[in-house]
């Protein structure tokens, strides 16, 4: 018998792959045989807290886009549409779990108590990142696509070295969460991270927000199989979750993080979502995608479905929504005011963080620049 399978189509591509969903776009809670137990402890208070973070994350984002449009920021990568993927996964983290973000995880930053103004400072270009990753366990934004998956894997190696997995102590067992996008999965670094994490059973969760677009390249330019299925080739589980369903993202992330903390190794989570805005403020998506697609996804809005669920189940009254609206306005107002008053860095600060101990050559260059700048001091006085 001859074996000729090379030209056979991949069977799965003809079906829609399974998608973990607990809240429908209409705000209906649907049961799930496996994942219900992972959110059984979620109370009405938790739902309100989740909704609050979704709303605030969206507000941080829209305010930042406005500030960029007003010339206050150099650039801003919008998270619009991805709020549930970020808040759901972030709420599954324990304080000691360490997060390696891309440059779009403003919702995760918010949940990790990184002040949005610190993000604005970065994109305004007045500092290089001013939150302490050791304290917040939220790493600084990595710009090079996919590179942080390797950093996360290396950090996870350190967690293993410290024996901070599988002890059963919830305050000690530690997982590492690496965020990345669908485009990053084409990078060699991400495959190498999968290989390393797979063969060392590293306690890392690869959380891919598949927002369908890598700038102008659609998903079919990155992959022939659903992304979560790639995990099987590297020897660890992969799961696709409705990335616009905050509850499902929480459930799936909780399971994956706990596997990591228990010493059971990595998981690939594919949060199936959509980038409602531009790639960054430098991009114009109307040049390459159709409005109909946007409308299709608008009906799956991650924030509205939680509100519908709350209203449907009488989990919040009008006063709650009004208060949240006020809080959101106040946050936006503070962001505007504090962004505009961020101090400009001194020119000589470019030499500050090249080496931990400045080299003699750099000290000489810095002192030379300082002397040169001082030579204008008189002119400024006369102006």
């Amino acid at each position: 018998m001859s074996v000729d399978t090379a030209a056979q189509p991949v069977a799965e591509t003809s079906h829609e792959p399974e998608l973990v969903q607990l809240l429908t776009p209409e705000g209906q809670r649907v049961p799930h045989e496996h994942y219900d137990s992972l959110v059984a402890d979620v109370t009405a208070d938790d739902i309100r807290a989740m909704y609050r973070e979704l709303v605030l994350a969206r507000r941080v984002d829209s305010e930042a886009v406005s500030l960029q449009r007003q010339g206050e920021l150099g650039l801003w990568p919008s998270l619009l549409g991805q709020e549930a993927a970020q808040i759901g996964s972030a709420r599954a983290l324990r304080p000691q779990d360490h997060v390696f973000p891309t440059y779009r995880e403003h919702g995760v930053a918010l949940h990790r108590d990184v002040d949005p103004v610190r993000l604005l400072a970065l994109f305004r270009g007045v500092d290089q990142g001013s939150w302490d990753p050791a304290q917040s366990h939220f790493h600084l934004y990595t710009i090079v696509i996919g590179a942080q998956t390797l950093h996360a894997t290396g950090y996870a190696m350190g967690v293993q070295r410290d024996g901070a997995i599988g002890t059963g102590d919830p305050g000690r067992d530690t997982a590492v969460m690496a965020y990345f996008g669908d485009g990053a999965t084409s990078q060699g670094s991400v495959s190498e991270a999968f290989i390393w994490a797979g063969v060392t059973n590293a306690p890392v969760v690869f959380f891919c927000q598949n927002n369908q677009w890598a700038i102008s390249e659609p998903l079919e330019r990155q992959t022939r199989v659903p992304l979560y299925k790639r995990a099987a080739g590297f020897g660890f589980p992969g799961v696709r979750v409705d990335g616009n369903d905050v509850l499902a993202c929480l459930a799936v992330s909780r399971e994956a993080l706990q596997r990591a903390r228990d010493g059971e190794g990595p998981t690939l989570v594919e949060a199936f979502t959509y980038r409602m805005g531009a790639h960054t403020t430098s991009d114009d998506p109307t040049r390459y995608r159709l409005n109909a697609e946007l409308e299709h996804w608008r009906l799956k809005d991650p924030v509205e479905r939680v509100k519908a669920y709350m209203v449907r189940n009488d989990l919040a009254d009008q006063a709650f929504f009004d208060e949240l609206s006020d809080e959101s306005d106040q946050l936006a107002e503070r962001m505007r005011a504090e962004c505009r008053s961020l101090p400009e860095p001194a020119p000589t600060s470019i030499f500050d963080h090249v080496y931990v101990e400045p080299t003699p050559g750099l000290v000489e260059q810095r002192d030379g620049m300082a002397a040169y700048l001082d030579s204008f001091a008189d002119e400024e006085v006369h102006q």
Binding site: Q128, T153, Y155, M157, I195, W196
Partner: protein, 337 residues
């Protein structure tokens, strides 16, 4: 003092650092069971176990990136990249991440890691396995690059590199592993960024690093014995930070210089040194600074062709003669003898 090889000095130093600091760990291809392609890590897997001596997948970007992540918040990984040629696969992690994280993250975390890797041709390993691409790293702010030429410096600079809070590329050389020398027993780290005058002389300055610092010393001894020419030899030892002052001070004394490099001439480290000498000692120079480098071709595999492409001691002697002739110094000396 012990009289040991460059290889042994590296091995002993890695071992003592693993014993001294539990945050030090080794990572790389074939470093565990196989004990390293050049046996620097012999016996370490057995002694320190697989958590601290990690055999990695054949994925240079992967394990270099993982080392960056491990270094950012506490560990001190010492990565072995089998040859510097393979570091090209990890170039993004080295130049864009290890070198820049401290600055791009506003000083929030440094990357105290070491990349140990040998360069060097002359072993018939052909063009893709015989290059010296340390220039890329020496060119990059945020990195430190050291290139010891003697067993004693190999020890002192490896100690300094592992204890340094910034990423250090530690350049070894295939031709130096078996060379021997006196190595002090004390654990005194060397100073990164400090060149050494390894031979004093007043006729001409020879500048080199790694294997070419070794060649410079050999040539200097030969010239002294055969012709009475006293060459001063400066071993750079570090490529970044670069100790220009020691080079310039020597040239102010000898008034002429030849720079040796095991690399392509155009845009090379020799060009940087020639410019630095011109900048710092122009009024003292009696002749143009000359460079000896390899032929600007992909290094051939065939032994006679490989030898033809690499700079030899004879090439260095010829250029020294030409330089001394240009200042009229050799004819004086030959006439005097």
């Amino acid at each position: 003092m012990a009289h040991i090889s460059y290889r042994q000095a590296l091995h002993d130093t890695l071992r003592s650092e693993l014993q001294r600091d539990e945050n030090v760990l080794l990572m790389g291809e074939e470093i565990g069971r196989f004990e390293g392609s050049y046996k620097i890590t012999a016996g370490m897997l057995d002694e320190f176990g697989p958590k601290r001596v990690r055999d990695t997948p054949i994925a240079e970007e992967g394990f270099t990136g993982a080392a960056v992540g491990a270094a950012m918040l506490g560990l001190r990984p010492v990565v072995e990249i089998m040859t510097i040629n393979f570091s090209l696969l990890a170039l993004d992690q080295i130049m864009n991440h290890a070198a820049k994280i401290y600055g791009m993250f506003g000083g929030q975390c440094s990357v105290p890691m070491v990349i140990r890797t040998p360069g060097g041709g002359g072993q018939q390993l052909a063009a893709t396995h015989s290059q010296n691409v340390e220039l890329f790293y020496a060119f990059t702010p945020g990195l430190k690059v050291v290139a010891p030429s003697s067993p004693a410096d190999a020890k002192a600079l490896l100690l300094a590199s592992i204890r340094d809070d910034d990423p250090v590329l530690f350049l070894e050389n295939l031709a130096l592993y078996n060379t021997k020398g006196e190595v002090p027993d004390t654990d005194e780290p060397g100073e990164i960024g400090r060149a050494a005058v390894t031979r004093t002389g007043s006729d001409i300055t020879l500048v080199g690093y790694s294997r070419m610092a070794h060649v410079a010393l050999q040539v200097a001894e030969r010239l002294a014995a055969d012709e009475g020419i006293e060459a001063e030899v400066v071993d750079l030892r570090s490529l970044r930070p670069l100790d220009r002052q020691t080079v310039v001070d020597s040239v102010k004394k000898t008034n002429c210089a030849v720079v040796l490099e095991d690399d392509w001439l155009t845009y090379g480290i020799g060009a940087e040194l020639a410019a630095s000498i011109s900048d710092g000692a122009f009024d003292w120079l009696d002749a143009p600074v000359r460079r000896v480098a390899m032929a600007e071709v992909p290094l051939p595999y065939a032994k006679p062709l490989e030898s033809a492409a690499l700079p030899s001691a004879d090439d260095v002697v010829t250029v020294i003669h030409q330089t001394l002739d240009a200042v009229g110094r050799r004819s004086d000396r030959v006439g005097a003898r």
